[in-house]
């Protein structure tokens, strides 16, 4: 199974689950699987055209999928997929 790590800002949409396991063999299908399991997270991951939002980075292992095959990046079955959103907090 591939493991998707949910960042803490999005865990309120996954019943506080920090990870999600999926057997899907492509990044877009894996994330779609996550969004089906937790529908409230969808709007935070996909824009109106069903593309990944540009302020959400998705990494397979250490690699940004934009440098691989984007959503079509294949998954071996034992990959770790990390979702890293932009955060801006600091001084407030």
């Amino acid at each position: 199974m591939n493991k998707i790590i949910i960042p803490t800002p999005l865990r309120k949409f996954t019943n506080n689950e920090s990870s999600y396991f999926t057997s899907q063999d492509r990044v877009d299908l894996a994330i779609e699987d996550l969004a089906k399991a937790f529908p409230d997270i969808r709007v935070h991951l996909f824009d109106e055209t069903e593309q990944f939002r540009s302020f959400i980075n998705i990494f397979v292992g250490q690699e940004d999928i934009r440098g691989l095959q984007k959503g079509q990046t294949p998954l071996s079955g034992s990959e770790t997929i990390s979702i890293i959103p932009a955060i801006a907090g600091g001084i407030l």
């Binding site: 709007v43 939002r53 540009s54 940004d64 934009r66 955060i87 907090g89 407030l92």
Partner: protein
Amino acid sequence: MFSKEELARYNRHIIIPEFGIQGQQKLKQAKVLVVGSGGLGSPLLLYLAAAGVGTIGIVDFDIVDDSNLQRQVLFTQSDIGKSKAEAARQRVLDLNPHINVVVYKEPFTSSNALNILQEYDIVADGTDNFPTRYLVNDAAVILGKVNVYASIFRFDGQVSVFNYKYEDGSLGPNYRDLYPTPPPPGLVPSCAEGGVLGVLPGIVGALQANEVIKVITGIGEPLVGRIHHFDALNFESKTFKIFKDEQAPAIKELIDYQQFCGMPAHEPSNADNEITVGQLKAKMDAGEDFQLIDVREEHEYEIVNIGGELIPLGQLLYETESIQTDKPKYIICKTGDRSRDAVELLEAEGFDQLYNVKGGIFAYADEIDAQLTKY
């Protein structure tokens, strides 16, 4: 050269073989601009000053308030009400009188960013909002300065070194390579709305200070082309490679960053679409038919509310079916800023009869019901 007192002070640096007197000399000659002297700026400024960075600039227009002290360890109870930049300057000079500190008690904007930053070698970004982060990044790229970046939210921290110039003259990625465009307003709450674990900026700001010192002295491998992510909740650290988009448009000039981040440019308040908390109370007492919408976060609502319908700002555009079209809508938040954004976002979606409750729940607590909790 160093005085006898400085040599004694920096002894633990100087005796590190990789560091030596040369490393300490580089720190003394360095000029670092720290934008934001709050959660991240606190450890950053303390460690840069303690380490002996010769000139430190501090940009902060804010005033110390009691909600800062949970994590902004630069400040003490007696600083409440003082300028952050000035209080920070006094604190770091108390720590190390052998350095120069320059303060800018003004917002960092497209008008002043280049003039301020050009005096420095490195900028350390400890800001708290997307427009200023893109501004810091772009100013650093235009002037060819290294931008040592850190950011936090709730339990997550990020650190990276942007726009680093390699020996062959090529540049490492910058913030726009990592995040080409910002989130739409409201989708990602700020720390004021979403909260932050107090110790987190201490951890992440110290990592940021470490990278500043490495860039200045040239020791080790700076965090270039990589982003470090720390999850304090599960104690997991990961470092990812940043994809550098060679096709990205060149950054040649500063822009309107509020507009870039989709934020409404706040015009002077328009009395036509605002009501006071006194007017709201009168409408409640008169039993008028209206919809009161509270656009704060759920946990804020749980602390205190006045019976409004909870739709957090970030959800607003996805829950427009909950907006009642046939009656006036009064929008409230903590202090009146988010509700003003909500009014403008809903107006842009075609809704009317929208009114911002001026001053928010805090004004309601001050003027109408002193029993309400101010948080």
